[in-house]
């Protein structure tokens, strides 16, 4: 029986893998809400999901891959394969050599232009190989190349990449320690539950699972799901699907480089869009897989999850009804767009209502409309930049647009797609675009700092090219079959593709260059040491720390959620100025931007009597010298602290 299970799994790994994963996410989320995560619930969820996949999982299909040979026949094909593999491994080794615990803004700072040229060369040869050779090893070398593409931040930033993952890792550790987090929230559950489940089943530390989860799953699943979807759902010939799957890398998708709930839903959206035509002509189990992916996205982050679930159910409904007239198609598309728009806007308005605020904010509408228009103006044009950067940044701006336009044309011109499919894609993307405008206009989220209010609208903007990506690849495949006949034309196409991939690789990670210089800093060793230093210096006394959000987040991960205190007004505050709603956060902003006065200090003392006040400033903060002068004038003392963070105390 076990043999049969693995045999059937091997027969059709991709769809079964996606099906199993989505089941695990949905079941573990239900378990999280119902009883909380524990070793027992994790085992039960795993057994239940495996049982379902065994008895009711996607039906086996003919595995065409198994009939192919492993390696190219020609000797030069084998040597080119070896060339790509050795180049990728060499680039991996260079990345590994740049691993660092010091504060960095960009992973690219240790690398020369030749590093990117080498990647472009490997990408060019890979494209040539995938076009000319028909062997199973082409898929494995594609996965190695995709792994190199998405693992830069994972390798270089030894202590983690970004700000959000630090908070989520702390929350996940809390879930593992306590089962769940109260009050229960309708978001992030999918990620917290699955990380806890993996921790219980493998005993791997939570931060490690969190860091590897998304990059590793992207690398494993995106080429496989793209290949499966393009062949089975978008009806592209087998070899062409392998070729265009590599071209996914020309679209920069920075959110797939680190784990966060929304980023996971971006991965689920990619799976969903590659498989969604199966809603209309696949088997019942393939339909179920598409709906399950949407549900997994919903329980992880509803911003994209809710539209995906709505469109999936509308798709199932439309399967029973064929649309014949153009008028009816337009009407249905607009209706679906309205549904998607109201689901996103309604969800965010409801969130405000639950927080005790009016659902919509109706002020400064003109300014907000201008802000919306600003989303479409490339900001690198504001500064003078040299031509290589103009080419690079223009390309990065244009590629999503090209993906959308080509995808839209293919969607409506290619007869292979049903009218139902077109209605769903048009309704979904139009709905997301309109919601982006309305969210910018009417939504101001409590608990989110002012300069991140546009974040949700920008996320929606970035999601639109994803929904046209498979259609774009279908267009490229059609172009390739017609144009790529002579070797010289193939070579030129591969060189352009390789250059685009190298550019996309560079643009996928934060950059500091002539056109872009606003990348944030990442957690460093000195942040952890500073948190420990303050804890030691306080020696059990009650204290607060006014600092920037990164150091506060590191403190949260080091000390946990329970380091809180109650101020004179009876409000519960975290010791570090982390949450935008806390009064300490406002004082920290005054410190950071040099505006702290004696009156502020007195107000803080009245609010928090008998509490020691620490101020921690990063050495790299642009006002560090000015702040030091102000703090010393106000009577603060600088204490010995790890290099990289200056710590002051008001006793």
């Amino acid at each position: 029986m076990l043999y049969e299970f693995f045999y059937r799994l091997r027969e059709h790994l991709t769809l079964r893998g996606v099906f199993l994963w989505s089941l695990l996410v949905v079941f573990s989320s239900i378990a999280y809400v119902a009883v909380g995560m524990s070793f027992t619930t994790s085992i039960l969820v795993m057994v239940l999901a495996c049982t379902i996949i065994f008895f009711f999982g996607p039906a086996s299909l003919k595995n065409e891959m198994a009939e192919r040979r492993w390696f190219p026949v020609s000797w030069h094909g084998k040597l080119l394969l070896l060339f790509v593999l050795s180049t990728d491994l060499f680039l991996f080794s260079l990345l590994w050599g740049a691993r660092i615990v010091w504060a960095l803004q960009t992973p690219w700072m240790f690398f020369h232009l030749s590093f990117f040229l080498l990647f472009a060369l490997a990408s060019t040869v890979l494209l040539w190989l995938v076009w000319t050779e028909d062997a199973r090893s082409m898929h494995w070398i594609t996965i190695v190349h995709v792994a190199l593409f998405y693992s830069v931040a994972l390798i270089v930033f030894r202590l983690g990449f970004g700000y959000d993952p630090i908070i989520h890792q702390t929350a996940e550790q809390y879930v593992v320690d306590h089962g769940r987090i109260f009050p229960l929230q309708p978001f992030y559950i999918g990620q917290y539950a699955i990380v806890a489940l993996f921790h219980y089943l493998t005993t791997i530390p939570v931060p490690l699972i969190d860091r590897f989860l998304l990059p590793v799953f992207t690398v494993i699943t995106v080429p496989a799901v793209a290949y499966y979807g393009l062949t089975r759902a978008y009806s592209i010939p087998d070899r062409l699907a392998g070729f265009v799957s590599v071209l996914i890398l020309i679209l920069p998708l920075p959110l797939l480089t680190f784990t966060a709930p929304y980023n996971l839903t971006v991965l689920y959206s990619l799976w969903w869009i590659f498989l969604v035509p199966l809603l209309f002509r696949g088997t019942a189990m393939e339909q179920a897989a598409v709906v399950l992916i949407a549900l997994a996205a919903l329980v992880t982050h509803p911003l994209l999850g809710l539209p995906l679930v709505l469109v999936s159910f509308v798709g199932i409904f439309l399967r029973q009804h064929s649309i014949y007239t153009v008028r009816k198609s337009i009407g249905l598309s607009l209706g679906l767009a309205v549904l998607v728009t109201f689901s996103i806007l309604g969800m965010l308005a409801l969130y405000r209502l639950v927080q005790g605020l009016p659902p919509l904010v109706v002020d400064h509408l003109g300014e907000k409309a201008l802000l919306f228009l600003n989303f479409f103006i490339p900001n690198f044009l504001h500064a003078w930049v040299s031509w290589p950067y103009i080419v690079l940044y223009s390309g990065a701006t244009m590629i999503p647009l090209v993906v959308i336009l080509v995808g839209a044309v293919v969607c409506f011109r290619r007869s292979a797609f049903s009218q139902n499919f077109r209605v769903c894609i048009a309704g979904l993307t139009l709905g997301i675009f309109v919601s982006m405008f309305l969210v910018t206009l009417f939504i101001y989220l409590p608990g989110v700092v002012a300069y991140e209010q546009a974040e949700f609208a920008l996320r929606l903007r970035a999601s639109i090219p994803i929904f046209f990506l498979p259609l774009f690849l279908v267009g490229v495949a059609s172009f390739a079959t017609r144009v790529l006949q002579r070797p010289i034309v193939v070579a030129i196409f591969c060189i352009i593709g390789g250059a685009l991939m190298a550019g996309s690789w560079y643009m996928t990670y934060p950059r500091i260059d002539a056109a872009e210089d606003r990348a944030g800093w990442n957690a460093a060793e000195h942040d952890i040491k500073a948190v420990r230093r303050i804890e030691d210096d306080a020696a059990g006394a009650s204290y607060i720390v006014l600092t920037d959000r990164l150091l506060a987040a590191v403190a949260l991960r080091e000390l946990g959620f329970d380091r809180t205190m109650v101020n004179a007004r009876g409000e519960r505050l975290y010791r570090y100025s982390l949450w935008p709603g806390d009064r300490t956060f406002a004082f920290a902003e005054k410190v950071l931007y040099g505006g702290l006065t004696n009156d502020d200090l007195l107000a803080l003392r009245q609010d928090l009597p008998n509490v020691r006040i620490y101020i921690a400033i990063h050495e790299y903060w642009y006002r560090v010298q000015a702040i030091e002068r102000i703090l010393l004038d106000l009577g603060a003392t600088r204490i010995a602290s790890p290099y990289g963070v200056r710590v002051y105390v008001f006793n």
Partner: protein, 124 residues
């Protein structure tokens, strides 16, 4: 002759690819080594920090900020090699904003040193 060339051409292209690959690889490896080692040399200072001056007067006489100057230099070199131009003046901000815009209510940095740490003044 033409037949002979057709036979040999894949080998020539492959040889050319390997040559270019090795050349680029050597340059990439050497620069990566130089840049990481420049920072790693300072690692003992980073990980085993010394006591810092606790008074205003002593603070003014603090040792040069070597780590950040090295980082600045590395970034400047990267920019110089990539574009053969000086980097633009920076307004970087560790309150990361994915929108890529600075909050309007906050003052914009007046850069004093081009490169990584705008507003950072060279020590006396």
């Amino acid at each position: 002759m033409q037949q002979w060339f057709q036979k040999i051409s894949p080998l020539l292209i492959l040889a050319l690819l390997v040559l270019i690959g090795v050349g680029l690889g050597v340059i990439a490896w050497k620069t990566q080594q130089e840049k990481t080692q420049a920072l790693m040399k300072l690692a003992p200072m980073v990980s085993d920090s010394k006591k810092w001056p606790a008074t205003k007067e002593a603070s003014k006489k603090a040792a040069p900020n070597r780590v950040f100057r090295t980082l600045e230099q590395l970034v400047s070199e990267f920019l110089m090699t990539a574009s053969n131009t000086r980097p633009s003046s920076s307004t970087s901000n560790n309150q990361k904003n994915d929108a890529g815009t600075l909050p309007e209510t906050y003052p914009t940095a007046q850069p004093s040193v081009p490169g990584l740490t705008p507003g950072y003044q060279l020590p006396n």
